[in-house]
């Protein structure tokens, strides 16, 4: 992999509300290299989006605040930049694609206008030049008749095309890092595949690092190089894509994989859901947030957060269950039997 773009170390983002302190992200660390795709998976409320917004310093303050950790973009710490410097980073160094293309484009501005605006904000280009580039970008993300389409309003675009336009806007300043926050969740399945392809193509063309936030493991399997599994504001497991899918170590990852339907299932079997509810982020246990839902819980789980255990190359897990026992349990789970090496 290429040069290191981003190093996040023990990032904690909390929201100070009347009801108490919501610990949305709790000591999360990860890195991103050029041309690499990091997938962040986890269920709703696990802190995926908050972690990404913390990178952009877009957490509404108050009530939110990055309370701890360092966010190194190259050799600059994003937490110490001034607001003005941070504005230059946004869009130019780190760009973001949002979840719902229907609401993330301004309805009263022409598509070309919105893309051109992003270009003019960060590059020394005139209006005409920016519009010309906007048309070119639309063409690149696969919108036919781009010359005509730049002059249209968002309501004249379908959902998939709007998401393509969002991608065009995000890549307009050739950002080092592209954050895609559930870019396919609001789209139907056939369009999802296209959008993922477009993101991948753009990553190849612009040599960006991509952070892909999703709860769709299918999407992760398609394009991620490495995966970070989040639960209750913490990273429970991270590793290369093959490691996570074929050699998962955390009970939550087992649960995620077990609850997926499979194309190659011969016998009809029921999916195995993860029982219980996600934890209340205000009153998290001091130990592992997965306690209460974990089928292999131990006495020490509740009180202390386990240290990182390296279980393979670039593969780490936070879990109290001894490694030998984990392998044994996993081997007994029906949906892992054919995977275990």
């Amino acid at each position: 992999m290429g040069e290191r773009l981003l190093t996040v170390d023990r990032l904690s983002t909390h929201f100070f509300t009347y009801a108490g302190v919501v610990k949305a992200v709790n000591g999360v660390s990860f890195t991103l290299d050029r041309k690499e795709t990091l997938g962040i998976v986890g269920e709703s409320g696990s802190g995926k989006t908050v972690a990404a917004l913390s990178l952009m310093r877009l957490i509404p303050d108050p009530p939110g605040k990055v309370v701890e950790g360092s966010l190194m973009l190259g050799d600059r710490d994003l937490r110490t930049l001034s607001d003005e410097e941070m504005r230059q980073v946004r869009g130019n160094d780190i760009a973001m694609i949002f979840q719902d293309p229907m609401t993330s484009l301004n309805p009263v501005l022409k598509i070309g206008n919105q893309i051109a605006e992003a270009i003019m904000l960060h590059q020394d280009k005139g209006k005409r030049e920016a519009w010309r580039l906007a048309a070119k970008l639309l063409d690149r993300v696969g919108i036919p008749d781009a010359e005509k389409r730049v002059n249209q309003y968002p309501f004249e675009f379908s959902g998939g095309m709007r998401q393509r336009a969002m991608i065009a806007m995000a890549i307009s300043c050739n950002p080092d890092i592209l954050i895609a926050d559930e870019p396919t969740t609001a789209l139907d399945v056939t369009i999802q595949a296209q959008i993922i392809d477009v993101i991948e193509e753009m990553q190849q063309a612009y040599e960006s690092g991509v952070i892909l936030i999703t709860h769709d493991l299918g999407v992760i399997a398609e394009i991620a190089d490495k995966v970070m599994v989040m639960y209750g504001g913490r990273t429970v497991e991270y590793g290369g894509i093959d490691e996570i899918f074929y050699n998962p170590h955390h009970p939550y990852t087992w649960g995620l994989l077990g609850s997926l339907p499979r194309l190659d299932e011969i016998e009809k079997t029921r999916l195995t859901p993860i029982l219980g509810q996600p934890p209340d982020l205000i009153s998290l246990p001091s130990g592992c947030p997965f306690v209460g839902r974990c089928l292999y819980e131990r006495p020490e789980c509740r009180d202390q957060w386990p240290e990182l255990e390296i279980v393979g190359p670039e593969h780490g897990v936070h879990c109290w269950i001894p490694e030998a026992e984990r392998r044994e349990v996993r081997a007994s789970l029906p949906h892992f039997q054919e995977y275990v090496r």
Partner: protein, 327 residues
């Protein structure tokens, strides 16, 4: 764009997915009726409201008359009316009560022998100027303070909105009188006084819409692009909050015209010999008892019809832009 090699994936093998699918394009065509923009949609529904269309016609006619007079005021003649509005040598009745409507003076002449029709036409210009300029001044102040108030919230919001409350709390005419006394009488001072006093309506109205629009995802997307606060407020938020403001503008112009009439009636608006509807009503009121009805009647009718036009157009516009009434 080169097609991606998808042969590695068994599901999409042999399939090249690289541009927008045909389905997308078919979808575009299948939707059939092209979705209408805000204005086209509003116009479609406004057309069905007869009162609003009548109002619109009145507004257009009077604005046209006002504009014509405004242009004519730059010509050497200085007016576009059958007679000089300030000339006093037209037929007087023996008692000095003016003469009733006739073919040469359709609205009659006043107690000084001035042609009432010409004066009414020229006064249209003053009324329209007051309506447009005073509301423009109010809009400029209101649409700067309102969005800033709503977007930033906190103490900025409190300061601006409490100031607006003060403006609302004062009796309106009394406040205008106060300002006019300070500024002195005169056309531009009328504009200023009415403008300064009505900004709070627009500021408060707009602040409410800004509160809901600033939570939209496209605002966050603009922020993620690195747009500055001012750019976000005035380029992304404000244009999305304008629909209720257009309605308030139509209503506000009617209100400003009435206020000018009231000020002129009270003697601190337009100064003689210039004519405005309020001034004419004030001047001619005392001649009504002597039977010279035509002096008072025509400016009053013009004033009433104009204000009626603006308000019914404004009402219609409100109904037409109200999303709750959409079918």
């Amino acid at each position: 764009m080169p097609d991606r090699d998808t042969s590695a994936n068994p599901v999409t093998e042999g399939v090249t997915i690289s541009t927008v699918s045909e389905r997308d394009l078919i979808e575009d065509k299948l939707v059939g009726r092209k979705p209408l923009g805000l204005w086209a949609d509003t116009w479609r529904r406004l057309k069905r409201n007869h009162l609003a269309v009548v109002g619109l016609c009145i507004v257009v006619v009077f604005l046209a008359v006002g504009l014509t007079e405004e242009i004519a005021s730059f010509t050497p003649k200085g007016y576009l009316a059958p007679h000089d509005p300030n000339a006093t040598n037209y037929p007087l009745s023996p008692k000095g009560l003016g003469s009733p409507p006739s073919w040469s003076h359709p609205f009659g002449t006043d107690y000084l022998g001035r042609d009432v029709f010409s004066r009414t036409l020229v006064a249209t210009r003053i009324s329209m100027l007051v309506g447009v300029i005073a509301v423009a001044i109010a809009l400029i102040i209101g649409l700067i303070l309102g969005p800033i108030s709503g977007y930033y919230g906190g103490w900025v919001d409190s300061v601006i909105m409490r100031t607006a409350d003060v403006f609302f709390a004062f009796p309106y005419i009394l406040f205008v009188l106060l300002i006019m006394t300070v500024l002195g009488p005169g056309l531009w001072n009328v504009f200023m006084a009415i403008g300064i006093l009505s900004w709070a309506t627009y500021a408060r109205l707009n602040r409410g819409s800004v509160l809901s629009v600033k939570a939209m995802e496209y605002v966050e997307a603009a922020r993620a692009q690195g747009a500055s606060d001012l750019r976000i407020i005035f380029r992304h938020v404000l244009p999305n909050t304008m629909a209720p403001v257009y309605v308030a503008i139509a209503m506000g112009i009617g209100g400003a015209i009435v206020t000018e009439a009231a000020l002129s009636f009270l003697g601190i608006g337009i100064q003689p010999p210039n004519a405005s509807w309020g001034k004419m009503i004030a001047d001619y009121l005392s001649y009504l008892a002597a039977g010279s009805w035509w002096m008072l009647a025509f400016p009053s009718v013009f004033l009433t019809v104009t204000v009626f036009g603006f308000i019914s157009f404004g009402n219609g516009l409100r109904d037409a832009t109200d999303p709750k009434l959409k079918e």
